[in-house]
Symmetry: C2
Subunit: 122 residues, 2 copies
């Protein structure tokens, strides 16, 4: 069985220099992802996470599923375009047996913003 991909969005991300009060950019990105996912019955699981420890490259998000490659992305904008890119990558991750998304198949924003990729546990 193909395990379900989780799209994790850090909802405490505040890009360097951003105000410390008001709604965090990470929360805005999470809500943008949720809004798009709600309109798509085939959307992957989306989860807000308080801090992916990638604060210096916020906004940040990640893809993971048991037995698959994991990805961490940073430098994301808190907008609908980034949300769409994340959901597209999550759908690709879900479809691939090992979750390893070739560079060319990643949305442009996620190529530049790849912070790390982990193989599945041995």
């Amino acid at each position: 069985m193909n395990p379900i991909t989780e799209l994790l969005v850090c909802n405490t991300c505040r890009p360097p220099g951003a105000a410390r009060d008001g709604v965090a950019a990470g929360q805005q990105l999470f809500e943008a992802v949720q809004a798009l996912a709600a309109a798509d019955p085939g959307a992957p699981r989306v989860r807000a996470v308080a801090c992916l420890s990638a604060c210096g490259r916020s906004c940040s998000a990640a893809l993971q599923a048991p037995g698959k490659y994991s990805y961490v992305f940073g430098d994301l904008q808190a907008d609908a375009a980034s949300a769409a890119d994340l959901l597209a990558a999550a759908a690709r991750h879900q479809a691939l047996e090992d979750g390893q998304i070739p560079w060319r198949e990643r949305p442009e924003s996620l190529r530049r913003g790849t912070l790390a990729r982990l193989p599945p546990p041995a």
Copy 2:
């Protein structure tokens, strides 16, 4: 049962500006970790990985185990001190049920160098 922690070391890491030929710094770090681990029967599992996609912050390494938090570290030196820090963190990760290593319990070099932390899959 407490799953076994894996310490992944990128053995293709070449820090920005480093020569493209000769033994990669990542391979040197991997060998330093292996040498220390060989002397410790309780050492965690160590695995070389060709690229963690954290090239801009090399040398890099990661900790993971099924059902636990994962960590990616960067800006590591290819020396015995970094190898010892990684093995100490791996032992702490192994000992903790959820693998979440408090900031204060991380070796200094790994506090500064934490690139990302992922929660276990839901």
